[in-house]
């Protein structure tokens, strides 16, 4: 017998990868990354949020490479993120400092600073706009010019970088307990794996990088049935937050020593949950408690669902799976859930062969037992 070489896997893989490239290019049009950045804002926001990496250009490239699949784009971004050393942590960001683009409250009609609708799909009719099929870059340029002219005469003097938080009103009125500032260094879930019970900083990190669909669905479960919470959105705000890092060469940093390194756009939500409070006298009172949600970009459904889950996990009622931190936190990560489900496509020849052996042995065992019992019946 001559020399035998088992080959094939390598070549098959190469051909499969070529075929994938063919599928991306077969219409002979290449998607421009700038166009993705221009027109796929929401997808970019979702991908950046789920991958915990804020970079629109990279997200656009990942979306192109993934042919628009969010799970695949997030996967690419996370894998790239693993190669980046962590050099600095930003200073604590205060969301009062946000340059607000949109801000609404479902609790109060008149809020100090006013409701600001900003950009939202909420007020559109969901009718497909067939004109978009013919839209040109030139039309876009013209529209933008006219829109700019319209806004020149804007007389509104609201300071958008200094809007008060709606919830402060409730705190001042004594309807919402004021919470103490917790300035402990947050635990970093990307540096230490999750141990139970978790800290709140860990919970919030896992929730904010959770898969949008998963966070929304589990939040919906808590809202609809398991616990049937119905919170009120105290404030939802979207806008840009400035980031600062300390000078790494200073031992101690004064306020003015920080460097401004850029800004991130986020959606922040504070929801209110009515709760019974037992007084010392045995009487009950109702007070509000808080749920907090925040995520990169504009993704309002996810941020609201996150605030529901934050409240659920803080409460930890053992009756409901949505209140169980292992149930929620270990199952909402896009890369983890899609990875483990897709691994079922891998060959399982050995493990299956092993199980087959057990199945056969158990059948033999039962035949043996049946024969024995037959013998007992018919000696």
């Amino acid at each position: 017998m001559g020399y035998v070489a088992v080959k094939g896997g390598t070549l098959a893989i190469e051909e499969s990868i070529k075929r994938l490239k063919y599928e991306r290019l077969k219409k002979r049009v290449v998607l421009d990354c700038h166009k993705i950045e221009g027109g796929m804002r929401c997808l970019i926001d979702q991908v950046m949020s789920e991958s915990s990496l804020y970079n629109e250009t990279l997200a656009a490239m990942a979306i192109k490479q993934a042919e628009g699949s969010p799970e695949e784009a997030v996967f690419l971004m996370r894998a790239y993120r693993s190669t980046l050393p962590r050099k600095h942590y930003s200073r604590t960001v205060e969301s009062e400092d946000m340059l607000v683009e949109r801000r609404i409250s479902a609790s109060f009609k008149d809020i100090p600073g006013g409701q600001i609708l900003g950009a939202a799909n909420d007020y559109t009719h969901r009718l497909i706009d067939f004109n978009l099929n013919e839209e040109t870059d030139e039309e876009a340029v013209n529209w933008i010019r006219e829109y700019a002219l319209e806004n020149v005469v804007d007389q509104d003097k609201t300071d958008l970088t200094n809007l008060p938080k709606v919830l402060n009103y409730l705190r001042e009125a004594g309807l919402l307990p004021s919470c103490e500032r917790d300035n402990r260094e947050p635990d970093d879930v990307t540096k230490e794996s999750l141990q139970f019970p978790t800290s709140r900083s860990e919970r919030l990190q896992i929730l904010t990088r959770g898969q949008t669909g998963a966070v929304t669905s589990i939040g919906y479960i808590a809202l609809r049935s398991y616990g049937a919470l119905h919170p009120t959105v105290g404030e939802l705000r979207i806008g840009k937050l400035p980031l600062h890092v300390d000078n790494p060469f200073n031992e101690q940093n004064e306020d003015e020593d920080a460097y401004y390194i850029g800004e991130i756009k986020v959606t922040e939500v504070e929801t209110l949950f009515p709760e019974d409070i037992q007084k010392f006298t045995g009487q009950k009172e109702i007070e509000f408690s808080l749920g907090y949600g925040i995520c990169y970009g504009q993704n309002e459904t996810k941020a609201i669902a996150m605030s529901i889950l934050d409240h659920c996990l803080e409460t930890g009622n053992p009756e409901y799976p949505t209140h169980n931190e292992e149930f929620v936190l270990l199952h909402i990560d896009s890369v983890e859930s899609t990875g483990f489900i897709s691994h079922l496509k891998l060959p399982h020849y050995v493990t299956f062969q092993s199980k087959l052996d057990s199945v056969r042995k158990s059948k033999k065992g039962q035949v043996g037992q049946n024969m024995e019992s037959n013998e007992e019946l018919n000696p």
Binding site: E326, Y349, G365
Partner: protein
């Protein structure tokens, strides 16, 4: 925008962190050490735990072998090998005896491992107690208190139900008389190879963010009962259709034409070596 990746993909800080966890795992045989598992360019559940261990350990002089379910040429093995080779430039080999690091999904090679070799096993579910306790918080306590009656009870119930222990691959083992450990789903056939292994065996679970280890010359016993001893998969009277080997783990394959099953070495490099040895001799 062009970016070069570091040697072995990770930044040096990440590698150091994984090595620290690995050292701890070796110091406490069978104990699952949590680590900050990174996202990898291959999917979670496709060997990222093993891959992270390999990348944290590999150096330029290493010779690497990667197998998936016994095969060097399986798509996943090829893919992992390719990634490590691209980011490190190390030599790859199919020969078990030649390799210094062997990353494997669910098999321990047939050629006995030697001192100085490292076997890295990919682990999907590192928690042997998960079958009866879904909560991580609880299983951690059970391990701490060495409370393993659930594991014994699980096997006992199998015997009561089926007349035999019905574990497939991943039959739980006791390491150094202290920790019950999931041997990754290697077939029961390979469990005895863990016992007093000359090579260092590292197990990595990427999605579950755990590493654990069986250091060389460590006692590893498969859980069983005096009257129901642990048994491996039986390939009695079977021999490999290609190389004629006996007493190795076999794949059962259906003949396209006759519809009859035949058997073939699962360890493809071992089979190949046999065949080529014969042709040379």
């Amino acid at each position: 925008m062009r970016i070069e990746y570091n040697f072995a993909f990770f930044d040096e800080g990440s590698k150091r962190e994984i090595r620290r966890a690995t050292l701890k795992a070796i110091a406490i045989p069978g104990y699952q050490v949590p680590f900050a598992s990174r996202e990898m360019p291959i999917a979670r559940g496709w060997g990222t735990g093993g891959l992270q261990l390999t990348l944290s350990l590999v150096g330029k002089p290493d010779i690497l072998k990667v197998i998936d379910q016994g095969s060097d040429e399986s798509v996943n093995a090829v893919n992992i090998k390719k990634l490590i080779a691209i980011t490190t430039g190390v030599t790859v080999s199919d020969e078990t005896a030649e390799a210094t690091i062997i990353q494997s999904r669910h098999r321990i090679p047939e050629v006995p491992l030697q001192e100085g070799q490292i076997l890295v096993l990919q682990v999907p579910l590192p928690e042997p107690l998960r079958y009866y306790e879904p909560s991580e918080y609880e299983t951690k306590k059970l391990h701490a208190e060495q409370e393993y009656s659930g594991a014994w009870l699980m096997l006992f119930e199998q015997i009561m139900n089926y007349g035999t222990m019905s574990t497939g691959a991943d039959h739980p083992v006791m390491v150094h008389g202290r920790y019950v450990m999931a041997p990754s789903p290697i077939p029961r056939f390979d469990n005895p190879k863990l016992n007093y292994s000359q090579a260092l065996i590292l197990l990595g679970a990427g999605r579950e963010k755990k590493v654990y280890a069986v250091p060389p010359f460590t006692r590893v016993a498969s859980l069983d009962f005096e009257d129901y001893p642990f048994g491996v998969e039986s390939f009695q009277d079977k021999c490999c259709r290609l190389c004629g080997a006996q007493g190795v783990f076999m794949d059962e394959i259906l003949d396209d034409v006759t519809g009859e099953p035949f058997y073939q070495c699962n360890d493809s490099s071992y089979c190949l070596q046999n065949l080529n040895g014969k042709s040379r001799g």
